[in-house]
Point group: C2
Chain length 355, copies 2
């Protein structure tokens, strides 16, 4: 891949906290996913990284259609020229934001999710040309009742909107103890989505995520799913890493040990630089005690058979911290550093933050 002319530096030169993305793990993840779900079969969800530079790299792996979670992500992607086919997979009522999206339609293919009379009507008022009917397929969140999809599609068409099809997000099925159960539950959810799609019309059936992308990939012919919305596969986190997926941990947050004690050390990466909703992050070969606003307190682990605990890392040591949830972590930082091992290759802005 091409990087800028910025001279290579070592991660030891970086100010911390710093988002590190390992280029080899990243490219492994992109290659693995694009092989299994090539081209339009994947609509990468860019909420997981919020970086147009990273989306640009995803496009080089063949994915030209993207999923967004916020209007600001949609606008940023369109302005970056990543505009072939942008889906806002969330409901929006905000007139100003819908107008901003509508104004982009001459330079970008814009589609938004709707799941109620109010969201259909708001889209129509703003002059939005394309929608997907968002169908609830089991997660207690957005999406119309499956039986209402046909009626909502009719309402949209009556207002001059093109209904491209349906989407659903089976978020409750991303992590399962038993893969056979996860498969049968996913297939049942897709039966529901397919039936709603038949009623709504259009040719798009969009669903899925990193946790079951492979189940989708193996059953596209029977489910009728036309595209998968995975996002976390690009960078990964400790939550998804338990699933045995073929993706590597590309993301870590680099910290500096600023205080070191007999029984613990403290680095300058705290809960203002880590998504915490999935719990504490991890540090290899160490036990994380707790996170404060600006700090993480951690300690060496006593190895089996060792007479005593290894000494704590000294003040000035660097430490890589692996977040438990990639999406909110990325949203807290202004840029990421692309690295190979300890070598710094480039700096990319995380330019799609906010709403």
């Amino acid at each position: 891949m091409t990087t800028s002319n910025r001279p290579a530096r070592n991660i030891g030169d970086l100010s911390t906290p710093a988002v590190l993305v390992d280029i080899d793990a990243l490219e492994h993840n992109l290659a693995t996913m694009s092989k299994r779900l090539p081209g339009a079969l994947l609509r990468p969800h860019i909420k997981a990284h919020k970086s147009t530079a990273l989306a640009e790299l995803q496009r080089r792996y063949g994915h030209r259609n993207f999923t967004c979670a916020t209007v600001r992500e949609m606008i940023g992607m369109a302005h970056a020229g990543l505009s072939d086919d942008l889906l806002l997979a969330n409901e929006v009522l905000d007139e100003e934001r819908l107008a901003a999206l509508s104004a982009l339609q001459d330079r970008a293919m814009i589609t938004i999710a709707v799941d109620s009379d109010a969201t259909v009507d708001a889209a129509a008022r703003a002059g939005i040309k394309h929608v997907l009917i968002d169908v609830n397929i089991g997660l207690a969140r957005c999406g119309c009742a499956p039986s209402d999809a046909g009626r909502l599609a009719q309402r949209a068409r009556a207002k001059g909107i093109i209904v491209r099809g349906v989407m659903g997000y089976e978020g409750h099925l991303m992590v399962a103890a038993d893969r056979a159960v996860q498969l049968s539950d996913t297939l049942a959810a897709m039966d529901t989505l397919w039936a709603a799609g038949e009623a709504a019309g259009g040719d798009v059936i969009s669903a899925g995520g990193t946790g079951n992308y492979d189940l989708h990939a193996s059953h596209l012919a029977t489910t009728g799913v036309t595209e998968v919305q995975a996002g976390s596969y690009v960078l990964m986190d400790t939550y998804y890493s338990t699933l045995g997926l073929p993706f590597r941990q590309a993301l870590s947050i680099l910290g500096t040990v600023v205080s070191s004690h007999d029984k613990w050390a403290v680095a300058d990466v705290g809960l203002k630089s880590l998504g915490m909703d999935h719990g504490d992050p991890k540090i290899a070969d160490h036990k994380v005690w707790f996170c404060s606003d600006e700090h993480i307190t951690f300690a060496t682990e006593k190895s089996a058979g060792a007479a005593s605990r290894a000494p704590q890392p000294g003040v000035g040591s660097r430490v890589r911290i692996v977040p438990s949830h990639v999406d909110p972590t990325m949203a807290m930082h202004e840029y990421l550093w692309l690295v190979r091992g300890d070598e710094v290759l480039d700096r990319w802005p995380i330019d799609l933050r906010g709403w």
Copy 2:
């Protein structure tokens, strides 16, 4: 207080998620604290709000000395003219950042915390003129061993640095089931800090927080504490609200219901706009089910004696969500809206984000 000439608007006009700060609750909190710990007895911790406009208001209530958690907060405060006496209550090794702080010393009184040879030496190399010796008084985080405070102070003075005194943060004592125990534990921690201060020299003894500010206020004469570092009292959160402190909830995040169902509703305030390390936020008269990246799923509560659950709020309804942790929540937003009830008075930037 003075606000800009921006015409009053209603919160119904705001794009969401939006940080709301109720001016009456805010001024109550500022007045209550400034009565109990007037002037220099309080060194407000601005990491809790990251807004120079809010710090400016704190100064109007008599507090001219501030505590910061990051170098960027220090720089922003200095540039905003809130420069009488700025304490960075964290250890820093970063040479570039220390140089930036050092360069501010002609326009701002800058003091930083040190707790090791390495941090003393880094401060000296950067030309930092004033330090506090950070003393560990029980929380497993930063701070030197109390017995090491004198030696570190000597080392700093030998390098030409003025040691203004000591600080300690008894963060493990902010929340306690039994106030009598909290008091005796706080007093014991202050005994340790006082002894370290005797060894280190200087006239500052800085400690405490919102959870025990009143215990400090009542015992300054015996503890020798010269200033308290509270921050959360300004805006408050659900975590601190359980303590029976005389501060009101000034902060909420305004959301819009974007999807409504029989058993739940969904608003557009998710875990990318809420600090989640203290758990889910709260919504008055509703039960929060869970938060996703961009959404909160919640439901009406069945009142005692009621035959059935109240209907869910409809699409387009506004809802105020109270965060469980103020500090990381503020760090996720670009600005706050100052409101009185539903009337919007002003917009203030949250201008001290990042590191």
